[in-house]
């Protein structure tokens, strides 16, 4: 006997809506089991992990703040993936964007006025876009594989940041420690509400909503979706695959670069040898969890951020190890993907003989 996945003829709309809920419930159940076998109270654990972060203004803001770069990068990546462009290098675009954006307060620390921040954000977006255009141009001109080139540029970007922070951009008053000078208030993204999140959160929500409208209601959105699903049909309609590759990479890069600049300006206030705990890669997960829909990505980013904040909560309050928190995050992703798979496919148990017979028909 063996197990097969068979494609369903029709997908249940109800289940499509319910599947994330089922996935969260299964994660909670598994988490409870994990807490129990590691000797912790499962109810307290679940409460601390999933509920408590939502009950206090500070932790709620911290969650939103953690979700912000994931959502902004994820939205850009969704445009790439919808149009069949596999940009894996958002992490590098995030870094180079931050370098462009932060060049201003580092090289011209005395340039302090109302234009400082807007210029930083603009430069950040340009930097990210330029970095993303490298794999896009290589793809359109030389037909290289953009997955490889965009990924490898991540490491180049990381080393560039490392070089600048240790060398030319090192804080002159910093005892040789590898970090840039601390930005002035004029170059710091202001805090909003209680102070655990910066202006980056509202900016991100606005961008996501605009993208959702563009995708759903405009010709450009139609072009992106058509070229992703059927490039040949798209070319008959007069759309250019090359132009769209350049466009989607530049947009995704600009958003990642903007996220990088806002993260450094709002949260770190200085460049450090490492400025991202893997946002650019985690955002790929967020983009797919959100089903490549900007609104879905907002929700997915928030849920993933919640799992980080909740993970810290159970660690600090109950002494649960960091690994358990990571396992629970992994389980969440696993169940979401598994539930989605079961919407599209059903499981069939077959004996080998029948299966072989069917295979011969194919």
């Amino acid at each position: 006997m063996r197990i097969e996945l068979v494609k369903r003829k029709e997908h249940s709309q109800t289940m499509a809506l319910l599947s994330p809920v089922i996935a969260v419930a299964l994660t909670a159940l598994s988490a409870a089991i994990l807490f129990s076998i590691t000797g912790h109270n499962p109810f307290v654990g679940l409460y601390k992990f999933f509920i408590e972060p939502l009950t206090q203004q500070w932790s709620l803001e911290a969650t939103i703040d953690k979700a912000t770069p994931l959502i902004l990068i994820g939205c850009g990546l969704a445009i790439c993936y919808l149009s069949n462009n596999w940009n894996i290098g958002a992490e590098g675009q995030f870094v180079v964007g931050a370098l462009f954006g932060c060049a201003l307060p580092i090289l011209y620390p005395d340039f302090e006025n109302v234009a400082t921040l807007p210029l930083m954000l603009l430069f950040g977006a340009i930097g990210g876009a330029l970095w993303a255009l490298i794999p896009a141009l290589l793809k359109t001109r030389f037909n290289t594989n953009e997955i490889l080139t965009s990924l490898m540029l991540v490491y180049v970007a990381g080393l560039l940041l490392d070089y600048l922070v240790r060398g030319p951009w090192r804080d002159p008053d910093g005892y040789n420690f590898p970090e840039s000078r601390i930005f002035s208030d004029a170059a710091t993204l202001p805090e909003v509400f209680g102070g655990a999140m910066s202006l980056s959160a509202p900016i991100t929500i606005v961008v996501a909503v605009i993208l959702a409208i563009v995708l759903a209601k405009t010709l450009k959105g139609f072009e992106i979706r058509v070229m992703g699903e059927s490039p040949r049909a798209g070319s008959f309609a007069g759309f250019s695959a090359k132009r769209l590759t350049l466009f989607s990479f530049a947009l995704a890069g600009a958003l990642a670069g903007l996220a990088g600049t806002m993260e450094v300006s709002g949260a770190l206030n200085q460049l450090l040898p490492s400025i991202s705990p893997g946002y650019g890669f985690t955002a790929i997960i967020v983009a797919f969890l959100g089903r490549l829909n900007p609104i879905g990505i907002i929700i997915a980013g928030f849920v993933l951020a919640l799992s980080y904040i909740g993970g810290e909560g159970v660690q600090s309050a109950m002494g649960v190890s960091n690994e358990i928190a990571s396992v629970i995050q992994g389980l969440l992703l696993f169940f979401v993907l598994a539930c989605d798979t079961l919407i599209l496919y059903r499981i069939r148990f077959t004996s080998r003989r029948i299966a072989d017979g069917e295979a011969s028909h194919v």
């Binding site: 040789n176 590898p178 770190l268 904040i309």
Partner: protein, 354 residues
């Protein structure tokens, strides 16, 4: 269903009351850069935390967060502890410096202790240890034991603490063998067993038969064990990972400091300061000398005793790599010069990354 709901409500209520139920006088919290199980830097800090628990029992409650990335996650982790009622928070990595200062401004009533940094405030103290004292001793051992006259040094980041460690190691070695060489590999990480092991292999291939490290994992010593060369444990006694390879280890013992500071916080006489102690105060401890001939052990113990009596390894004559004099014969470098050290001594086969 109803009973499940009841249990849940009870559990939620219990969770809410959780902190009130424990009536500790003080809550001490620790932020770690690596996993508790690194058997190096973070492991030793956690041993210090456990010593605090053991010493004070129910009077002091502790909590920790491990593997907290330097960056925005650090600020959130520190702020979380401040909000959760921690009275004293130890942040145990250099990269937590600015986040610690930032959070401390918001919580003037909470006491903060930052390890290895240089920024203090009314409620932020710093603490560090004179690891370079131990490095002088292992430098002497290396020069005595090495057949090739070359040691490999796996270094993390070119910050003063690491640079002064390399210098102290070579000064110790030169006191035994003036021609001793040290090769340096910068791995740009505090904890990455794979990278550290690769660096160790590369250094051994280049002729180093002594491996020493300023990174936190046991990997370099394990490579030394496999390849039949020798080395020194870092931060923690790593003898269990390299029975034949480890000569000794420079152990960071944070327990006396943590117990002392928690006691002061309990007594209400905690003040901000910059602590920088070494072998004499027991903040740096040499692990048992093993796999060594008796005369080398004797030499190491004699140097250890000399340092405990107040002798400073950074006492002239010291010549910088560029040939200029750092300290005349018999002159001792002042603390500021050691804590801000950004130059190599003569004889190091490497250029300091700029």
């Amino acid at each position: 269903m109803k009973s499940l709901l009841k249990t849940t409500v009870a559990a939620v209520a219990f969770a809410a009351l959780g902190s009130a139920a424990q009536a500790a006088d003080l809550k001490a919290c620790f932020v770690y850069v690596g996993p508790v199980g690194d058997f190096g830097w973070t492991y030793q800090h956690d041993q210090g935390r456990l010593a605090v628990e053991e010493k004070f029992g129910d009077k002091v409650e502790t909590a920790y967060l491990e593997s907290v990335a330097e960056g925005p996650d650090a600020e959130r982790a520190i702020e979380r502890f401040a909000r959760e009622g921690c009275n004293i928070i130890f942040t145990t990595s250099f990269g937590y410096m600015n986040p610690t200062i930032k959070v401390a401004k918001k919580f003037p009533d909470v006491k903060f202790e930052h390890a290895t940094g240089y920024k203090t405030a009314d409620n932020v103290a710093t603490y560090n240890s004179k690891f370079h004292q131990g490095r002088y001793i292992i430098g002497q051992i290396a020069a005595k034991q090495s057949k090739t006259g070359t040691a490999g040094y796996i270094a993390s980041f070119p910050i003063p603490e690491v640079v002064s460690g390399i210098n102290a190691f070579l000064l110790g070695a030169q006191s035994v063998n003036p021609d001793f060489k040290v090769k340096v590999v910068w791995v740009n990480t505090w904890f990455d067993p794979g990278k550290e092991a690769d660096a160790a292999k590369a250094l051994i291939d280049q002729g180093a038969d002594i491996i020493t490290q300023h990174t936190d994992s046991t990997a370099p010593l394990q490579v030394a064990q496999e390849r039949g060369v020798h080395g020194f444990g870092q931060a923690s006694d790593m003898i269990n990972f390299a029975k034949d390879a480890q000569y000794t280890a420079i152990i960071d013992d944070w327990a006396p400091y943590y117990i002392h500071r928690v006691q002061e916080a309990l007594d209400g006489n905690w003040n901000s300061h910059s602590s920088w102690e070494g072998l004499a105060e027991g903040h740096v401890v040499m692990a048992p000398y093993t796999n060594l001939p008796a005369d080398v052990v004797e030499m190491a113990k004699a140097t250890e005793a000399k340092i405990k009596d107040g002798w400073e390894p950074f006492t002239g004559p010291i010549t910088k790599q560029d040939g200029t004099v750092a300290a005349e014969d018999g002159v001792r470098l002042d603390d500021g010069a050691i804590l801000g050290m950004n130059w190599y001594v003569q004889g190091i086969d490497d250029k300091l990354p700029e």
